[in-house]
């Protein structure tokens, strides 16, 4: 039975999971988490959360003990990104809580629903610089959708109900609940979870029908329409609506990094990823289009490049559930503050078929003019080839997580994602060390699926301690380290913009095969395409965790590239050393 089935069973029969008794705050917390549908928590114990761990000892909740709190929060993010359900993380006060900060920020930037439970010193000690006290409420004000400190145990049921509601509705995001130790060790009573009622919280829903008709008319008039889609399609579960809308109206689709999978790669209308390392045709299309239909995106600087040159001829329609994203970076003609799925379904009822035959041919021409490619290796191994081999061996069906850097871009460009939630990467914050624990969380959520973490040698070393967690929990994550001996993206920028002065970007690695062996995982190494193919096959057949090391060309670059400060149409397609 898969985790999601387990979850549905639990949802259908909540009586099957119950706290044996509820007489303390910590037991009430566990009981409320169960009522909220939680089955798994990623965490790490410590002094301030001892009462909670004592309650967890008897609770029908799975706790995954990571080796660092950062591993726990990224795992909760991976769990959430793979399922759409909120991931839950638990850490102690002080250093436990501050070790979560990077992951909380990452979840905030990439709109991931996560519930963060932090221990706190006892109420009467708060503000006294007590042992392991940190003002995590103050620290996380700018990086959470909302946060709470429980000062009265009677408030806990409403706080939990509101926290899950806020994390998962509207634009999703992390919500932190700070739990003073005395609240958890003090008395409490079992309580039915109340209806969420956060006063002041508002979620936009359906679009204005009048605006929708005007938008439909604008699309119908277009000669060069383009759908620019992002993570909002995945959050709003509207991938199917998008596919129907694009196909019925024959409008080409370009995707952001976080939107990959929302529209299937390989489809005729899919132009590919746009932006700094976007496909040539996609960046040409966004520059030349006359009506830009932006759905669940935020006109991030890695997409737009220099703002003055961004899509200069287009009338822009922007649908987003977050009103603050509209007109933030790029002024638009048609702002629609609404759920993107409801908007697409509304538009499907209207006639918006544009006459865009010539435009589609032009985009096909751009694909021919400069297709996604790389120079094959004379000898050795190209990193792009490794991604292609992984895609072939997994039939394009694996859940893929990445770290951050060149390998991330190659994974985005060369792995054909065809379904939402198949692709889990750190976009907004660009967190090295994200991918490996995220893969762990995704594998916990999806035990039947193949989960591959495509990593760089530097990124992998940032949260390498989680090897112990995946081995202990028998999580068959397949890690593919594209080892080029460099902080590859830093090196690429140094090559292009700092006269090849490779300051501190050369980075060493341990023997990954021995390292895997030391932890009790399978370690494999390949130095050419033939070996790569063989070890990938071996790794996929192995039913436990595998670390694959691919020794790839050291100075390979990611192309196309929009240099910083340039427009999306000003791409570097190749690099010739002067």
């Amino acid at each position: 039975m898969s985790a999601s089935q387990t979850f549905e069973t639990i949802q259908a029969h909540p009586e099957k999971r119950k706290m044996p008794k509820v007489s303390l705050g910590a037991e009430l917390l566990c009981d409320l988490l169960i009522q909220a549908g939680v089955d798994t928590i990623f965490g790490y114990p410590g002094g301030a959360v001892l009462p909670i761990y004592d309650a967890l000892f008897d609770a029908p909740l799975r706790h995954i003990l990571t080796r660092h709190e950062q591993g726990a929060i990224h795992a909760a993010q991976g769990f959430s990104r793979a399922t759409g359900r909120p991931g839950v993380v638990l850490a102690t006060s002080g250093p436990g809580a501050t070790n979560l900060v990077t992951g909380i920020t990452d979840a905030f930037m990439d709109s991931t629903p996560v519930i963060i439970l932090t221990g706190q010193v006892a109420s009467e000690k708060i503000g006294s610089d007590a042992f392991q006290e940190a003002d995590i409420i103050g620290i996380t004000l700018p990086i959470t959708k909302h946060n709470y400190q429980v000062r009265n145990i009677a408030d806990l049921p409403q706080v939990i109900a509101d926290a899950f509601h806020i994390a998962t509705t509207g634009r999703p995001g992390p919500v932190l609940i700070d739990l003073p130790k005395d609240m958890m060790s003090g008395p409490a009573q079992r309580c039915q979870m109340p209806e969420p009622a956060p006063r002041g919280y508002r979620v936009p829903k359906a679009p204005d029908p009048v605006v929708l008709e005007q938008v439909a008319a604008e699309i119908k008039r277009a000669k060069r329409p383009l759908l620019y889609i992002g993570g909002g399609i995945i959050s709003s579960k509207s991938s199917e609506d998008l596919r129907e809308f694009a196909r019925r109206n024959q409008i080409p689709v370009t995707s952001t990094l976080l939107g990959l999978g929302a529209y299937p790669a390989g489809d005729d209308l899919f132009v590919g990823m746009l932006g700094m390392h976007g496909i040539y045709a996609a960046n040409r299309a966004i520059t030349e289009c006359d009506v830009l239909i932006a759905l669940g995106v935020r006109f991030d600087d890695r997409v737009t490049g220099k703002l003055e040159r961004f899509s200069p001829h287009s009338k822009k329609i922007h649908v987003d559930i977050d009103p603050a994203e509209i007109n933030k970076n790029v002024p638009v003609m048609w702002p629609v503050v609404a759920d993107v799925g409801m908007t697409l379904r509304g538009l499907l009822a209207l006639d918006c078929v544009p006459d865009a035959e010539a435009w589609r041919r032009q985009i096909a021409g751009w694909h021919e003019e400069w297709p996604l490619s790389y120079r094959p290796a004379q000898d050795g191994l190209k990193p792009q080839r490794v991604v292609e081999l992984l895609a072939e061996a997994t039939k394009g069906q694996a859940i893929v997580t990445t770290e951050v850097g060149q390998h991330q871009m190659w994974a985005a460009l060369f792995y054909p994602f065809t379904r939402p939630r198949q692709w889990i990467t750190s976009g907004g914050l660009g967190t090295m060390g994200f991918g490996f624990p995220a893969a762990m969380g995704a594998q916990v959520a999806m035990p039947e699926q193949t989960v591959v973490c495509i990593a760089g040698d530097a990124s992998f070393q940032m949260n390498v301690q989680e090897l112990q967690t995946i081995v202990e929990n028998k999580l068959p994550v397949k890690v593919a380290i594209l080892n080029n001996g460099f902080l590859g993206m830093v090196r690429q920028w140094q090559q292009f913009f700092h006269e090849r002065r490779y300051a501190e970007s050369r980075i060493g690695s341990p023997d990954y095969v021995k390292l895997a062996d030391a932890y009790g995982a399978l370690g494999l190494r390949a130095a050419n395409a033939h070996e790569a193919e063989a070890i990938i096959e071996q790794a996929l057949r192995h039913d436990g965790p595998v670390i694959m090391e691919f020794l790839v060309h050291e100075e390979e670059n990611v192309f196309p590239m929009v240099p910083p400060g340039a427009g999306t149409d000003q791409m570097t397609l190749e690099w010739e050393e002067a």
């Binding site: 700018p142 006063r199 002041g200 936009p204 977050d322 009103p323 603050a324 007109n327 002024p331 503050v337």
Partner: protein
Amino acid sequence: MERILSVIVNDRPGVLARVAGLFSRRGFNIESITVGSAEEPTYSRMTIVSHGDDAMAQQMVVQLMKLVDVIDVHDISREKVVSRELALIKVRIAKETRMEISHILEPFRVSIVDVGHTSMSVEVTGDTEKVDALIGLLSPYGVLAIARTGVTALVRSGISEADSYDERQTAWPM
């Protein structure tokens, strides 16, 4: 241009920090901010004076609305409002200047709240210009200390009186 935002928030610990933090990290300046109880006991009203063009003001409003503890935001910069600020000004006095200062104070309808041998403190209420003007006139005599509350404001009668903030249909200012 000058922006006055009238903001209804939940009267909870930390709300001021949420609002002030939002302004600083988004690069919006705060000329003044006042907080006090509103018409219902569980709400507070904040009046924020800032500067920015229309696009920036729109961002201020929607970013504030995204805060869970913010109930309602109203950009009243272009509306007919009554706005008031209170200031306490301590000015140096001497025998020969006492009468002069009294004449200056008269049209401002100030209250003299404290008098000593060498200084006195006056309380003035009015819009910002009035307070600025008084400070300007007193400064040649030696202003020893100033405490200003910042502007608080209400929209004039008959304009957008909400029945209840909970029931108000939020329109995004797009």
